[in-house]
């Protein structure tokens, strides 16, 4: 497979059919620079991945002395329809991803624009936006449980006061996933900071050129800012997709998968299967299903990126 974010220099090389001296030099240095990372992958990542794939073909139970190779039985069981939670958790996770990814990207980009303005106390504001990401979950989860409490919570109190409809939030079967999305938005500090770094890399001259032409802020946003941060948007989109599919701790800490299994996220179910029910072989099969799903989505975004991601440093 070839997830190619960059234009087809390999294709061009192939057409020529010869390997020039310059290309060989590039190959040498390319491998030299990337070899620690490649080695690291082969040593620390690939081994455990291969092991877990092998285990997904077995009935591995950590506590059992014997492990039997059972081929694709685990996968067959998954797709046989017997494991209702498999489908339910997959559905819950997709719903979460669909809601969360656009929300995170749009809101964190807007926040980054705000924080990139030249206002007093900017450092302070940036730090505050990042604070929820470093407050331990035991502390912040208490806050969500209070804010989103259906009866005494601040959010419903305010909604009630404004004569808007209230919600049972984390405790309603329909509202639990949107509510969890909402609580995760407090943790977007990291995404905002990456956007800020992206914004700071935009050459000033570009804006000055628009000033000379008499363009306003919308022009700057539309024609400079957004195109120039597309590599960052791309990065944040990919990472948010990967992270959202693997949502775990919110279900673990806030809801334990409830009410009525409506927030039973895939990785939470997988973790429970692996470490509470000790069915590690089956859990590994679950994990590889998710792997393929994430791979497909990442692949799609990478493929589309050619048409919308603009790399200043990679024009041919």
């Amino acid at each position: 497979m070839g997830i190619s974010a960059v234009d087809g220099q390999t294709a061009r090389a192939r057409k020529k059919g010869t390997t020039s001296k310059r290309e060989r030099k590039a190959l040498f240095y390319g491998l030299l620079f990337t070899s620690p990372a490649i080695l690291g992958f082969l040593i620390y990542t690939l081994g455990p991945m291969v092991a877990s794939f092998y285990l997904s073909l077995t009935d591995y139970n950590v506590f059992k002395d014997q492990t039997t190779f059972i081929g694709f039985d685990n996968y067959a069981k998954l797709f046989s329809g017997k494991d209702e939670l498999f489908y339910q958790s997959l559905g819950a996770t997709f719903y979460f991803v669909v809601l969360r990814v656009p929300a995170v990207i749009i809101i964190s980009f807007l926040l980054a624009l705000l924080l990139n303005m030249n206002v007093k106390g900017r450092s302070m504001f940036r730090t505050i936006i990042y604070l929820p990401s470093i407050v331990p979950a035991v502390a912040s989860s208490m806050i969500w449980l209070w804010l989103l409490n259906p009866d005494l919570g601040l959010v419903n109190t305010v909604l009630d006061w404004l004569h808007l409809p209230t919600s049972s939030w984390l405790f309603g079967e329909k509202s639990v996933i949107p509510s969890i999305v909402l609580t995760t938005l407090w943790g977007i500090g990291g995404t905002v900071i990456i956007f800020l770094a992206g914004l700071s890399g935009i050459p000033k001259q570009y804006y000055e050129a628009i000033d000379v032409d008499g363009g306003g802020w919308y022009h700057k946003l539309r024609h400079i800012t957004i195109p120039m941060v597309t590599p960052t948007i791309f990065f944040n989109t990919i990472m948010t997709i990967i992270g959202s599919f693997q949502v775990f701790s919110e279900a673990y800490i806030l809801t334990q998968g409830g009410p009525n299994n409506k927030s039973m996220f895939f990785v939470f179910y997988l973790w429970r299967t692996a470490f509470r029910d000790t069915e590690m072989g089956y859990a590994s099969a679950l994990a590889w299903i998710l792997f393929v799903i994430i791979l497909i989505f990442t692949f799609i975004v990478f493929k589309t990126s050619k048409s919308w991601v603009h790399y200043e440093g990679d024009r041919s």
Partner: protein, 276 residues
């Protein structure tokens, strides 16, 4: 950049509103850290401790050997920081500024390392490190940082390197520079903001990492701060007042590091000698 007064004021107001929303968990943590156990959970929350229990800090920090935990954390965090910053910037350079056959394919393969839930690789990784004889050492926590420093960081830096115009490299090549010099003199300075982001995330991630130390360490003389914090949770109840005081103490260095680190963000790079 000059910005209009109106826009600044509007932005300021928006920032204030957002900040109030985002500071709540931190304030909750701080006020809980000096509260009486029975006041922490009163709902709706009370924001002023009555009375102030500053001795929570003293109790929390003396009941467990936090000095040892702190030293261990510092050793791990700074080793990881150095390894990650060096090896991820180098790797990202190879994946973005040099054009070589198979580059994007190998990069794609590396990306797959993020896509498998960690719950199922935990045990194979643990067994691997243990077989190598590194159980109960810092190596499993530190060494991988020197081998790429994580695909997340490489990917992030790659995205930034790709935005820097190639003209620089070509000009430098003409002047007889080699790849290392281009990496050191051009790419690193121009991508300073991204490198700072990587450093900040690495620091915070390593500082707060719980699962890694939990799995790979066993002697409490090697425990880290993040591992120490969980020791306030009991079999039936947790000592929330002490837990909050200890958590606040552990979080504060992170806040300071972040506050200082983000100051070194670039203020929009200046490309001299280039037309806009």
């Amino acid at each position: 950049m000059r910005e209009s007064r109106l826009k600044l004021t509007a932005g300021y107001v928006a920032l204030l509103i957002v900040s109030v929303m985002f500071i709540v968990p931190f304030v909750w943590l701080l006020r809980s850290s000096v509260m009486d156990l029975s006041q922490i959970f009163i709902m709706p929350p009370e924001w002023i401790p009555k009375p102030f229990h500053f001795e929570n800090f003293k109790k929390a920090l003396t009941v467990l050997p936090f000095g040892t935990f702190f030293t261990n954390t510092i050793i791990i965090v700074f080793s990881v920081l150095l390894g990650t910053v060096v090896s991820s910037t180098v790797a990202a350079f190879g994946f973005s500024r040099i054009r070589w056959k198979g580059r994007d394919m190998i990069f794609a393969v590396l990306m797959t390392g993020m896509m498998l839930p960690a719950a199922v690789t935990l045990i194979p990784s643990f067994i691997g490190w243990k077989e190598l004889g590194f159980y109960d050492t810092f190596y499993p926590l530190i060494v991988p940082a020197y081998f790429g420093g994580g695909i997340f960081n490489i990917f992030l830096l790659r995205q930034f390197y790709l935005t820097i115009p190639q003209d620089f490299d070509e000009a430098a090549f003409v002047d007889g520079a080699n790849y290392f010099q281009i990496y050191w003199r051009i790419l690193l300075p121009l991508s300073r903001s991204a490198v700072i982001v990587v450093a900040l995330f690495t620091f915070l991630g390593s500082w707060n990492d719980f699962m890694g130390p939990l799995i790979y360490l066993k002697s409490d003389s090697r425990f880290t701060l993040a591992l120490g914090l969980q020791m306030f949770q009991g079999s039936y109840t947790a000592q929330w007042d002490l837990l909050m005081a200890a958590s606040a103490t552990v979080v504060l260095p992170c806040v300071v590091v972040f506050l200082v680190g983000q100051r070194y963000f670039l203020e929009g790079i200046t490309l001299t000698g280039l037309k806009g």
